[in-house]
């Protein structure tokens, strides 16, 4: 009984605020729109949130370790272009996907080199890399998208397939990926390192954390996952796009920073990001079904991002500390 009570109390603690926001939003859209609350639509939302979730998994860790990566949407675009270019040239899908991901890993490595060797702020370095990858994508298609005629059955099944005609395969894969990432983050040294880097850079250098290795692997991982997302996007649009419609970047960042509200308040973490990605997709889907133009979604996302970052910034600093200190002091004064 006590255990259940403590569970319930835990659910109402600030760590789960995003979950409540998500539930309230789902309830709101369900009341407003009968199409939204159908099982098919809810599962579709879960499926399509998978792409966004794959794109930002690497970004989560980069942000958690106190760096930044703005290149992921452009790397996804590059991957889709490389893939479609190779496929239309008659190269087998398996090899094309592999080459697309490897090419994108090179761009991730470039970010890593710029940050590690040339000691530049990750923001500036990744801005440079994102322009380079975007223009490479444009050069591959000579400035226009390349259309896919046949889509490989396996890739199509990963993207659109259902287990028992109900559960989307993509959602299952993303869930497994996130659970594995969660294991890495919480149960291994890597997770300790990355939060140590985010918490106190100097101290973690002194403690001998292999930060160069970590940043190289994070940037390459982020690029590889973005490339994987790009492959899925290419099958979903059935075209390679040098420039995916502008909100990919904003959606990804919003997912990560909303996710930082959850589980480990103030620190981006994979489970939070997963719910953040679902949150963004529910918002987009609900607004579409209610016939509200997408730019209201933009305003809401911007607002949520500011809200998220404000809560995150204040949770670790003076404001809460002062309140905590006050609470601790009060009995002493009496």
């Amino acid at each position: 009984m006590k255990r259940i009570l403590s569970w319930i109390r835990k659910l109402f603690s600030p760590e789960y605020i995003l979950l409540w926001m998500l539930l309230i939003m789902v309830a709101f859209f369900s009341i407003k729109s009968p199409t939204f609350r159908s099982t098919a639509n809810l599962l579709e939302v879960l499926r399509s949130s998978g792409i966004n979730a794959i794109l930002v998994l690497g970004l989560t860790w980069i942000v958690a370790s106190g760096e930044f990566d703005v290149a992921f949407p452009d790397i996804a675009a590059l991957s889709s272009m490389v893939l479609v270019y190779l496929v239309t040239r008659g190269i087998a899908w398996g090899y094309s996907i592999l080459i697309a991901i490897l090419v994108c890993c090179l761009f991730g490595l470039l970010s890593g080199v710029l940050v590690n060797v040339f000691k530049f702020r990750a923001l500036i370095a990744t801005i440079g890399v994102s322009v380079l990858s975007k223009s490479t994508a444009y050069i591959i298609g000579r400035g226009s998208p390349i259309y896919l005629i046949n889509i490989n059955k396996t890739v199509e099944r990963i993207m659109f397939g259902r287990i028992a005609n109900l559960i989307p395969i993509l959602a299952v894969i993303v869930l497994i990926l996130y659970l594995a990432a969660n294991f890495l983050q919480n149960q291994t040294k890597l997770g300790q390192y990355l939060y140590a880097l985010g918490e106190n850079r100097e101290a973690s250098y002194e403690a001998g954390i292999p930060k160069k290795m970590i940043f190289y692997s994070f940037f390459v991982l982020s690029a590889a996952l973005a490339a994987g997302g790009g492959v899925l996007l290419a099958t979903s649009f059935s075209a390679g796009q040098p420039n995916f419609a502008g909100t990919l970047f904003i959606d990804g960042l919003t997912a990560v920073f909303l996710g930082a509200l959850m589980i480990k308040p103030g620190k981006p973490n994979v489970i939070g990001t997963y719910f953040g990605a679902i949150f963004i997709m529910v918002l987009g889907n609900g607004l579409t079904l209610l016939n509200i133009p997408f730019y209201y979604g933009l305003i809401i996302k911007g607002f949520l991002m500011i809200l998220g970052v404000t809560v995150v910034a204040f949770s670790g600093t003076e404001f809460f500390e002062k309140r905590r200190a006050k609470r601790a002091e009060e009995p002493a004064h009496q």
């Binding site: 500036i124 920073f257 809401i300 911007g302």
Partner: protein, 331 residues
Amino acid sequence: MAKFNKIFTREVISLVLFFFILGIVLAVFSILSPRFMTVDNMLRALKHLSLTSLAALGLTFVIAVGHADMSFHFVSCFSAMTMSYFIGILEWSPVPSILMGLLGGLVFGLINGFAVGKFKLPDMVATIGIGTFAWGLAYLYNKGNYIYQNFLTSGIINFSDGNWQGIPYPVIYLFVLYFFAYIILHRTKYGRGFYAVGGNRIAAKFSGIKVQHYIIAAFVLSNVLASFTNMVLTAAQGNGNVKGGLILLMPAYSAVFVGVSVFKKPTIIGTFIGAFLISIMQNGFTLLSAPFYIMDLVVGLTLVLSIIISRLEVRKNLNKTVIAIQDGITD
């Protein structure tokens, strides 16, 4: 020998290197295209320069206080749409409409400045969030559609296409604003404060510098100047477009960091020559009728190479802040 070292400081060497690179670029383009080295083309290049370099001018101040601004391109879209709304839908005359647009930039600059300076939010995320918000608001004016009514008749075109004794207005804006920015940042005590805040915030605070004030001022300058740039751009295009300002981001960052790689700190002259290098290359490629994505490639390569050049003489202990800013307070 000591005298030799005094003349050939790092700054001079990298300046010479920069002009060497610039010379090669100019030579290559004038060989490839006969029209490159004409007065007409140079004037056109200067006009183009003014469009990319004014946003970079504002960003210089933000980089100087040790922050990053990822919102100015979004905010500039909002301001340009505000101006277009007042001209196209409400049929105001150009000058008050431009002022309303600048007011939009000012408001978002203040919001950014307070968020980062006063409430100490992480700069990148906060500015991206605020920028997204502003960009969403820009869509509201005309549901995301172009605003082109009244543009030809109201005289707003003159804002960009007019000239004074043969000199196009944008070139005048460029030189006047750069001149004042140079005086403020490099020739007044007030301007030294920007570098002090960027170099060592705690030291600056204890020397009686109003840190918050400088950060807010930097963000206001960045957003207002980016808004101004995009309004000139909008006037030149003859319609208000919600995505018009998004192209400002990359060239602005590239220009500032080319300047950093030459002078080892964000300076007005550095930003100017950075913007000059980028826009002269873009102009050259336009004359060679290269496709538009080559421009992006040029901007990206310039940014990455300037990072690499600026780091070739890496010193110890530059993990946290830009090395250049540290130099800024020691001299």
